[in-house]
């Protein structure tokens, strides 16, 4: 962990670039970053390059195998699987792409603040955090989703809220590592306010940990989002989504396996890409992420 004091903008840029170079120079980082960029670009351009309409049904071509006109065959309603695989990550990337930064920001802020304040109130907060973490994610999410419905406008705040809670822990632990150091005491002695100390002394030192944490949260969020879709609590049909597609095609797996293979490969490659990148990023920043339990 490097101690960056209030430094000019271009040193920060230089550091970002050197970290990026370090990530790309590792095979896992290069492959991971390629997969992530590929999926993000695909999600942005896919509506203009898909060969068919994703909701156009064709009763004459139900569950036909891969062929020249339908590269990945058709599903049980005669829709083109290739088209739906290309489009199937957009919803997931949109929801998790918005929810992840929110989760890391609020969880990180609360964690740093309470790490700095400490004392009795910090103890109480940690008990509440523990209590939240002791409930399985799926139960917490489902209660909110059943209450408020399944649209994006519910899923984003729900994911952002629950995935910010473990970030509190990480940020608090990282803050504890620096809060006793001399430069924080010095800032206190100078009479700086809490917000100033957080912004200038603590945040620069905790940021690396939060970045790696954010990358990991992103992949757990994708896991949660697609699992919810799979269970029927995520996006609603006919919107193409990998989790939903796997759930639909599972029943026909014995004679039409192409229906599950496409979304399985697409979803797996995105999640593996994020994790390879997160791993390379952690190594480049010198953070051992394996030490932490997955909660």
């Amino acid at each position: 962990m490097t101690v960056t004091s209030a430094s000019p903008q271009n040193t920060r840029l230089m550091r970002t670039l050197s970290v990026l170079r370090d990530v790309v120079s590792r095979p896992s980082g290069a492959i991971g970053l390629f997969l992530v960029v590929f999926h993000v670009v695909l999600a942005l351009v896919s509506p203009w390059i898909v060969p068919y309409d994703y909701k156009a049904m064709n009763s004459a071509m139900m569950l036909t195998g891969p062929e020249a006109t339908h590269w990945l065959g058709t599903d049980h309603l005669g829709r083109d699987v290739f088209t739906r695989v290309l489009l199937g990550g957009r919803e997931a990337l949109l929801v998790t792409g918005i929810a992840t930064p929110i989760a890391v920001t609020w969880g990180g802020f609360v964690g740093i603040l309470f790490g700095l304040i400490g004392g009795r109130i910090d103890e109480v907060l940690m008990r509440v955090v523990d209590a939240f973490l002791s409930l399985p994610w799926i139960l917490k999410m489902l209660v909110l989703i059943v209450t408020f419905g399944t649209g994006i406008e519910v899923l984003i705040p729900t994911l952002a809220f629950f995935y910010g809670i473990p970030v509190i822990r990480i940020a608090r632990a990282a803050t504890h590592d620096v809060v006793a150091r001399d430069f924080v005491s010095a800032a206190r002695a100078r009479g700086h306010s809490r917000m100033t100390i957080i912004r200038h002394e603590l945040l620069p030192n905790v940021l690396d940990t939060l970045m790696v944490e954010g990358a990991m949260r992103w992949s757990w969020m994708l896991l949660a989002f697609s699992s919810l879709s799979f269970l029927g609590f995520g996006v609603s049909p006919p919107t193409p989504d990998w989790g939903l597609m796997i759930a639909d095609a599972r029943g026909f797996m014995s004679f039409a396996p192409w229906g599950v293979l496409g979304p399985v490969i697409a979803l797996s490659s995105l999640i593996i890409g994020i994790n390879l990148t997160a791993d390379a990023l952690a190594k480049a920043l010198g953070i051992d992420r394996a030490q932490k339990a997955p909660v």
């Binding site: 209590a131 209450t147 896991l223 030490q291 997955p294």
Partner: protein, 319 residues
């Protein structure tokens, strides 16, 4: 040490207590109550009023929370909203089945994870480590329903070796779940092994870099003796706590696995209860799951304490 145990026990109880309040508040937030769910379309006017009267839903929330919490503490989880059966009875079999699934996976996964973790830790950055660690990332981050679907496709559809779906009824004895339980256990084991082996690996690396290991090497202690006598006992201690946390984390994944394989466990019951708005059952399951989590963590703490000589003798040095 007794004081430490009591402190942990107390903190565990506090956690369960906070969880019970979160659960109660969460379910209060849901629109409708068990009466609207039970009466469905007739839920209006006098009928609804009578039902609420009979179930005591008209009383203030604090009073109802107190009643619910005290009877739950005595083991009485109330009555399911859409039936006359007691929840304790409904949940009993399902809990047993989920525990069977978890126990089989633990029995398989923990030894495997420790073995692989030690191997990858000792041969860090060698081909064997890179291969196993990469596989571990795949296993732990790919959603359970994806790996389950792939396993069903390979072992059940293409090879025809194992049944891909569980058809045994919830109350059947444990022996009848074989061989149907094998695939769900495999999926759960994969995820669990990946989580634990990463922890063991980094713990082994850390311990092997320690001063006393270098000292032992310089003294001329044989390598394998160092590994087994000096390094492993210290490296495996922190793993106990991770196993506990992993189990808790996996409870969410177990729900998905149970749905995929149609396994009659607590997780599938929870999904059904949420869909049916059977609120007393949702509350009961949430409370059971949280209690299991706290108990597992508590036993991990106790195990660590007994296994760690430094903690065991802490009071002697202090006194």
């Amino acid at each position: 040490m007794l004081a430490m145990l009591l402190r942990r026990l107390f903190l565990g109880l506090v956690t369960v207590w906070i969880v019970s309040m979160i659960i109660f508040a969460g379910v209060e937030m849901l629109p409708g109550d068990s009466c609207t769910a039970f009466l469905e379309r007739e839920a209006k006017g006098k009928l609804l009023e009578n039902c609420r009267e009979a179930q005591g839903l008209n009383r203030p929330a604090a009073e109802r929370y107190f009643d619910w919490a005290t009877s739950a503490a005595r083991g009485d989880l109330g009555i399911s909203a859409n039936g006359e059966k007691s929840i304790a009875e409904l949940v009993g079999d399902r809990l047993g089945n989920s525990l069977l699934l978890a126990a089989c996976s633990l029995a398989l996964g923990v030894p495997l994870a420790i073995f692989l973790g030690v191997v990858t830790g000792l041969w860090r950055d060698r081909p064997v480590d890179l291969a196993v660690s990469t596989l571990a990332i795949f296993a732990m981050t790919i959603p359970e329903f994806v790996s389950a679907t792939v396993l069903i496709l390979v072992f059940s559809v293409w090879l025809g070796w194992l049944p891909g779906i569980v058809l045994t009824s919830a109350s059947a004895p444990a022996s009848e779940f074989f061989p149907e339980i094998i695939l769900p256990v495999l999926v759960l084991t994969m995820v669990m092994t990946a989580h634990i082996l990463r922890m063991v690996r980094s713990s082994v690396i850390e311990v092997m870099a320690g001063d006393y290991i270098q000292m032992a090497t310089l003294k001329g202690v044989p390598y394998w003796r160092i590994v087994f006598r000096h390094a492993l006992p210290n490296a495996l201690l922190p793993a106990i706590n991770v196993v506990a946390l992993t189990i808790a984390w996996l409870l969410g994944g177990v729900v998905v696995i149970e749905v995929v394989f149609n396994y009659p466990g607590l997780g599938r019951m929870m999904i059904d209860a949420i869909s049916d708005r059977d609120l007393p059952v949702v509350q009961a399951i949430a409370l059971i799951v949280a209690t299991v989590y706290v108990c597992v963590n508590l036993s991990a703490d106790i195990l660590t304490m007994f296994a760690n000589p430094r903690l065991r003798t802490l009071h002697m040095r202090r006194g």
